[in-house]
């Protein structure tokens, strides 16, 4: 067997390995409507379940009458908490160490809460059944404000002992969930008290929602003959779901098979466990038939995991010439009716303690108070690692506020405070060890590319023109420099409900030199089947096109914690490289045997092992694969397989520099994005095309959040943004052209130096868009105004500053 291509460059190209903009292998099926999503799962005799939901945000349930519903043709059963209680399933544990009602147990705590589960022959009958269930409510006082909640006599969670500790320590009030601290309180307070300059600001990072195009759903099928439960669902963490289902149902884990089929976006919304999953499983056990549950858009927006809702109060101190000396941050976190945040268990406020950002801040302190209110539970990381968007928004706003206080250019203020290249690995005041970075280079590149000084000059002219009545449009220059913390994470400090956050890859090489690799992660559109094959191609010298990547079936894939928090490449990608290296190590021994030399006398070269100093003597990986299975080699077992479970030594810290130029119509509040430049440094770049796609998507979701996307409630706890008419999901019309750029600073501890990129653009984009709006009004006295910057709120900024006659 001899390879067709001999030229080294051609051999490299043939692999389509790392660095190649390989076309996405998934797209053939997605663009032809041939994807297989959970709603495409159709089984014989399958039933459909759906929820009766509470119209009230806080109410006692005095009665539930299912009689009429059971008469509706096609309706087979109606489950209530009373039916689940004997099984101990009327409540379920949340990922945050709290518990949540599966079906309303005596009261409801948010509008849209699950009250009863109607099981019917099809979804139409289920919808009619829902209408016929009679529920009597006795309304209770509603609390939608976390500050009021901490003062109120109204106890939201009557199931909890009001004085007992919660999952994260002491509670100050029956509606208080936890206090979480990082850093040094007194030293920080002292530095701030004695500082030359202090800037203070309060900011609200509004509640929003990940809103994946495909909503959440599942199909549960209990096979009573063999005792096996199969659960298809929109799970971002299928193995974790299997373990949780086993723990709460008592079904042994080997009898549960969880399958995440194609997933139409997750963005954190599909990490947690929802009542729909539990009810579907119970309904399947009760009826002996498969049961499907699929959310509609309103269910999704109103009930499954929201994001953000952080009230942040900051103080930042500096010397007169702008060297930052201290940072203080307090957060009041609105978690809704149950604490169902999806964070590593020891981090109830996620990685909010990355809030010192990209700056060398010697002293800092962070305190977060979690609070119950009458809103939907959640608090997931919407396209970000745990609470990192909140942290980056906080620091990137504080920098701007400090720049105003110092009367200094905000780009310059960033420059003089960046952590320097030679300081890495850098231990931040709030504890994290940043792996690598070169912030100054990235910043200079960004500012030069956009001609920052020219933009500032143009802006100054615009202000003059505005004051002279020559224009009604202001110009804003939004800056943001972010450092992410992704790749959770080291098992020593990262677990979810005790499940360590390692990840895994298992590779099987076939005799003819192709391969299948299975991972513990699950793609929701990120293109894992494309990029992980590229990592492997470079590691094991077989073409990416000859490697199948499979994820999402717990019966076949190795255990892993799934895909969110930009962890797939940092953790599973590392496992892939490490497993590939095990393959290569065995291949080396086989090659040496075949070439009749000592193991150390052969070396790996792209797609083959060659005899050192005699490149004409070689065995290709294809030949080696065949020999591994078909030739008796003394001392070596047949076969060529490997598995790696990778426990990362540290997180990875991608960073980037973004600039947005915006023109704002002062009279209508309409912003127009003239330019958006995004420089990302995600370390080693596996597939530049996929990176660019991720950046476009993340920026678009950032634009959404900054400019209008929110989950808003009225005083009665009614959700005002339950449909896509009011919940802003940008389309091609609203999205500007993005300019992408990069620098490469590999992670020193990651096997291939990659850091993860899917979330960076969202994390860095939100403050960049927001800063652009705020910067436009800076010359007229704006210091800080809360997002979302939709038309009327931008108009109000202008109006409050007296810019309308």
């Amino acid at each position: 067997m001899k390879d067709e291509v001999d030229n080294r460059e051609d051999r490299v190209a043939n692999l389509k390995g790392m660095g190649c903009s390989r076309k996405r292998v998934e797209d053939a099926r997605f663009t032809q409507g041939k994807g297989n999503y959970v709603d495409d799962v159709k089984l014989d005799g399958m039933l459909f379940g759906d929820f009766v939901r509470s119209p009230y945000a806080h109410a006692r349930i005095t009665s539930i009458n299912t009689e009429e519903a059971l008469k509706v043709p096609g309706v087979l059963a109606v489950l209530t908490a009373a039916d689940l209680e004997p099984l101990g399933l009327h409540w379920m544990p949340t990922l945050a160490g709290d518990k949540q009602m599966v079906l309303a147990d005596g009261k409801v705590l948010f509008q849209g809460q699950e009250v009863a589960f109607v099981v019917a022959q099809d979804r139409y009958a289920a919808a009619d059944g829902i209408e016929a269930v009679e529920v009597e409510y006795e309304e209770l006082p509603v609390i939608v404000d976390p500050f009021e909640s901490l003062k109120s006599d109204v106890i939201l969670r009557e199931d909890l002992d009001p004085t007992a500790d919660g999952a994260h320590g002491p509670r100050k009030h029956p509606n208080h969930i936890f206090t979480w601290e990082a850093g040094d309180k007194e030293p920080t307070e002292e530095v701030i008290a004695n500082a030359e300059v202090v800037a203070e600001e309060e900011m609200y990072y509004h509640r929003t929602h990940p809103c994946p195009l495909e909503t959440c759903g599942c199909v549960a099928s209990m096979d009573k003959v063999n005792g096996k439960l199969t659960l298809w669902g929109t799970f971002q963490a299928p193995h974790a779901i299997r373990t949780v289902v086993s723990l709460i149902s008592g079904i042994e884990e080997h009898n549960i098979r969880v399958i995440s089929p194609d997933i139409g976006g997750g963005f954190g919304n599909k990490v947690g466990a929802y009542p729909g999953y539990v009810c579907s499983v119970v309904a399947s056990i009760v009826t002996g038939k498969p049961v499907k549950w699929i959310e509609d858009r309103m269910d999704n927006l109103m009930t499954t995991a929201f994001a953000r809702d952080y009230w942040m109060k900051g103080k930042i101190s500096a010397t007169k010439d702008g060297k930052i000396t201290g940072l203080h941050c307090h957060v009041t976190a609105d978690h809704g009716g149950f604490d169902a945040c999806a964070d590593p268990t020891k981090f109830p406020a996620g990685f909010m303690n990355i809030c010192t950002g990209s700056y060398d801040i010697p002293t800092a302190y962070l305190e977060v108070d979690g609070v119950y209110t009458n809103k939907a539970p959640g608090g997931v990381s919407y396209r970000c690692s745990f609470r990192v968007t909140e942290a980056v928004y906080f620091i990137e706003r504080m920098i701007e506020v400090l720049a105003i206080k110092l009367n200094m250019d905000a780009a310059e203020l960033r420059r003089i405070n960046f952590i320097k290249k030679e300081q890495f690995p850098y231990t931040a005041a709030l504890g994290w060890e940043y792996d690598s970075g070169d912030y100054h280079t990235a910043w200079e590149k960004a500012l030069t590319t956009v001609d920052y000084d020219g933009l500032r000059a143009e802006q100054a002219q615009r202000v003059e023109d505005f004051k002279a009545g020559k224009t009604r449009k202001l110009m804003g220059i939004g800056l943001s420099f972010f450092t992410e913390i992704v790749g959770a994470g080291p098992v020593k400090n990262c677990d979810i409900l005790g499940l360590g956050m390692f990840d895994s890859c298992e590779i099987r090489i076939h005799p003819t030199g192709s391969a299948i690799a299975r991972l513990g992660t699950i793609s929701q559109g990120q293109g894992h089947a494309t990029t992980f094959a590229q990592i492997l191609a470079s590691e094991i010298g077989l073409p990416a096109d000859s490697i199948t990547i499979e994820e999402g079936d717990t019966d076949t894939a190795p255990y892993g914690l799934g895909t969110y928090g930009s962890r797939s490449t940092p953790v599973a990608g590392a496992a892939t490289a490490m497993a590939g290296r095990k393959i290569r190590a065995k291949a080396q021994m086989i090659a040496a045997y075949l070439l009749e030399v000592h193991d150390n006398d052969v070396e790996f070269d792209v797609d083959r092992f060659v005899v050192k100093g005699a490149p004409e003597k070689f065995k290709t990986m294809k030949e080696i694969a065949f020999a591994a299975y078909n030739q008796a080699i003394p001392g070596i077992e047949p076969g060529l397989e490997a598995v790696s479970y990778y426990d990362p030594p540290n997180m990875t810290y991608p960073f980037g520099a973004y600039v947005c130029v915006m023109d704002i119509d002062v009279d209508t509040g309409v912003p127009e994005i003239r330019r958006f430049y995004a420089l990302d440094d995600c370390g080693t770049r596996i597939n530049p095309m996929i990176i660019e796609g991720q950046v476009h998507g993340g920026l678009t979701e950032a634009l959404a959040v900054a400019l209008g996307q929110e989950i808003a409630y009225d005083d009665m706890g009614n959700c005002k943004t339950g449909t896509l008419m009011d919940f802003f999901l940008p389309t091609a019309w609203e999205v500007p052209n993005y300019e992408t750029d990069y620098t490469v600073t590999p992670s020193p501890h990651h096997p291939i130096g990659a850091k993860g990129v899917g979330e960076s653009p969202h994390v860095g984009g939100v403050p960049c868009f927001s800063n652009a709006v705020q910067d436009a009004f800076r010359p007229f006295g704006n210091t800080h105004t809360n997002m979302p910057h939709d038309h009327w709120r931008i108009w109000k900024m202008a109006n409050d500053l007296g810019l309308h006659d």
Binding site: M298, T668, M725, D790, H791, W795, N799
Partner: protein, 284 residues
């Protein structure tokens, strides 16, 4: 998001439609493009036990242009309006407005008749038709009658049309002079935060007639005769613009919603109207 069960009918002619309407009274509704009605049924905000689809009723999809008027059949779609060459020559405001309704998918289905009969204050065509002084033709058991667009709207979802009547056509005099349809919305596919339809006639440097109607700023479209009158006889200078805006402001009555509070809507209505007048004037 699943409607309650309903009977579906697809009559071949108007007689069939009227017979069904007579039989089922207000338990029946006609459906044109369905892009307002079906969402309401899915949200179970409209209860329609008998749904009469008008897609097979002939004779409702023509656009006829004569020397002094335009007649648009009720089932003409918004996309037909955009694509029709003759129409965009004689009444370009129709195309300009239609292009600002929803998105292409919706416009392929949504009809002129449905848009004006619906009675939703968010719809763009009612205000447009008031500006153009259109007349709606209704047919019922007792034959046909005409109602001026400016008299048609009573309150949100309440119009001069009786439950047993069907709107068959919209007729309008050939518009004269300059035009503009100006709309502010939050995103593509959104109803107006504020919209203004303006048709203006100029003689020399003087405005000789002006017609102004506003959308989504009250529970009905608002034809503001006073705003138009404020421009007539002027050179549409700053004072006249201010007078027109102020007259319009007295006629509208917006409510607060997710698009913003009342003060904002009133302000934006003024800005949008001013821009519409300026654009129409520049084209007059």
């Amino acid at each position: 998001m699943i409607p309650a069960a309903f009977e579906y009918y697809r009559p071949k002619d108007m007689d069939g439609v009227l017979t069904l309407l007579a039989e089922h009274g207000d338990d029946a509704r006609v459906m044109a493009g369905g892009h307002s009605l079906i969402p309401m049924m899915k949200l179970r905000m409209a209860d329609v036990p008998h749904l009469i689809d008008m897609q097979d009723v002939g004779g409702l999809s023509d656009i006829e242009i004569t020397n002094d008027s335009i007649r648009i059949g009720a089932m003409v779609t918004q996309s037909d309006i955009i694509a029709h060459d003759g129409l965009s020559e004689v009444a370009p405001i129709l195309r300009e407005a239609a292009l600002q309704i929803a998105d292409p998918q919706v416009r392929y289905m949504g009809t002129v008749g449905g848009n004006v009969a619906n009675g939703d204050p968010g719809n763009d065509m009612p205000g447009l038709m008031q500006c153009l002084d259109a007349t709606f033709t209704l047919i019922g058991a007792d034959g046909e009658r005409d109602v001026p667009a400016r008299d048609f709207y009573e309150a949100a979802y309440m119009t001069a049309r009786e439950d047993e009547e069907v709107l068959t056509a919209v007729t309008l005099p050939l518009p004269k002079g300059g035009y503009a349809y100006e709309k502010q919305k939050r995103k593509i596919g959104d109803y107006a935060t504020a919209a203004a339809a303006v048709q203006i006639v100029k003689n020399g440097d003087t405005c000789v007639s002006a017609s102004i109607a506003m959308t989504n700023l009250s529970d009905t479209p608002i034809y503001s005769a006073d705003a138009g009158a404020a421009l007539v006889g002027t050179s549409v200078d700053d004072a006249a613009l201010k007078a027109a805006v102020s007259a319009m402001d007295g006629d509208i009555d917006p409510t607060e919603d997710n698009r913003g509070p009342i003060a904002f809507k009133k302000h934006v209505a003024g800005v949008i109207l001013r821009r519409a007048i300026e654009r129409a004037w520049s084209r007059a």
